[in-house]
């Protein structure tokens, strides 16, 4: 015969268990690429010294404080200390710029600032300068969850990005979803397929022997299925980035990430 207090305790435990089970079942499980990576990659990313991406963050910090363009101003000239002014900024990108109505990722925002505020030439994708500044700015949001929200203003970009994500393409006639949703966690030859999120970008990729942007990685995926590569900075890649950012909502910024 159980005592009333024991019955109440068991009842409480049962209720907690039921609630926990229901909650876990309801939440979609979104995992960063680092969780699919080997122990060596994880330790390389976790150690700021071993992480080669930090070399670009260091470069970005130098550039941040270097005057440029006809204005003779540096980023710091307006934005002061990046650690405070840029904190949380990357979590909102890509976003639709109210002024120009353009969808901007971080790279486009940096170049927009260079052109309109500094009177400087935009940096090309994959240059050390653009990678450095993008990595430096995104790095200030490291550890913070991505929070790109879809609203009436930007919904068309989300829908277009989503259509691209689910569209079969290339000689192999595959869509992003076929690897990164249906087969995430499974092996492709010796490698484990991740969910394909962009929360760690710019990353240092061992295969590239360099840091690189999310757009570089996306273009590689197009190549992977033998599709034609969209241009850097194209609408297609920006829309796809926007969809991906929404898909990765809640994942923490890891910049600079390390991937194989």
């Amino acid at each position: 015969m159980l005592r009333p207090r024991t019955v109440r305790l068991w009842g409480l435990l049962l209720a907690l268990f039921a609630f926990g089970a229901a909650a876990a079942g309801d939440l979609p499980r979104v995992r960063s690429g680092i969780e699919y990576a080997s122990g060596n990659i994880r330790s390389m990313q976790a150690d700021d010294f071993a992480n080669p991406g930090m070399l670009w963050v260091t470069r970005g910090e130098k550039l941040w404080n270097t005057p440029d363009g006809s204005s003779g101003k540096s980023c710091a000239g307006c934005h002061r200390d990046a650690a405070s002014s840029m904190k949380g900024v990357a979590t909102h990108y890509p976003l639709k710029d109210r002024g120009t109505g353009r969808l901007l990722n971080l790279e486009a925002r940096i170049n927009h600032c260079r052109e309109t505020r500094q009177g400087a030439e935009p940096y090309r994708y994959e240059t050390d300068e653009l990678l450095g500044l993008t990595a430096y700015v995104a790095h200030q949001s490291r550890g913070m969850p991505l929070q790109v929200r879809v609203n009436d203003d930007n919904r068309m970009h989300y829908e277009r990005g989503k259509a691209i994500y689910y569209r079969r393409q290339g000689q192999m006639n595959l869509a992003c979803t076929h690897c990164h949703e249906r087969n995430a966690g499974r092996r492709l030859l010796s490698e484990t397929i991740s969910e394909g999120h962009g929360n760690a970008y710019p990353i240092y990729r061992l295969e590239w022997q360099s840091a690189g942007s999310l757009q570089r990685r996306l273009r590689s995926c197009y190549f992977g299925v033998r599709a034609g590569l969209p241009e850097f900075g194209s609408e297609e890649l920006l829309d796809l980035e926007f969809f991906l950012a929404q898909r990765a909502a809640g994942l923490k910024v890891e910049t600079p990430g390390v991937r194989r």
Partner: protein, 143 residues
């Protein structure tokens, strides 16, 4: 806006693994040691058993040595039986090191056993090696 990717600058590595190379390391070792015998032992080569990518494989070299003025490591040389250039690196230490341990990252052109040759202050040579499995990228990344 059309962005020129700067692909020329990227110099996308179209060359994959080099043609299969099997280096005969014996002449190179003889040159390093001046013909002296090389004893297996004293040096540990620590690497992952399976490399994430042959472009960058972490490697730790540890030599058992008191690292005193009288008894220390002079140098550690890394040799590859399978890279296009068998001599990978040479590290020069000395008694001021305190500990004969080096960490770095190497390039490996396929599965192989990397060889470390250590020269001690007493004139002896020692060797150690570690086998690393290197696979190709599953989804070919043209850059």
């Amino acid at each position: 806006m059309q962005w020129m990717a700067g692909l020329w600058a990227l110099a996308a590595g179209a060359a994959r693994a080099q043609p299969d190379v099997a280096n005969d390391l014996r002449p190179l070792i003889a040159e390093l040691t001046g013909g002296a015998a090389v004893n297996p032992g004293r040096v540990r080569v620590e690497t992952p058993r399976l490399a994430d990518n042959g472009h960058s494989v972490p490697m730790k070299l540890v030599v058992e040595s008191p690292m005193t003025a009288a008894d220390h490591v002079l140098s550690i040389t890394l040799l590859s039986p399978r890279n296009p250039r068998p001599l990978m690196a040479r590290f020069v230490l000395g008694p001021r090191a305190g500990r004969a341990e080096i960490l770095t990252r190497v390039r490996l052109n396929g599965t192989q056993a990397v060889l470390a040759i250590v020269q001690l202050s007493d004139g002896t040579f020692w060797s150690g090696s570690a086998e690393v499995e290197v696979t190709e990228s599953a989804c070919l990344d043209a850059g």
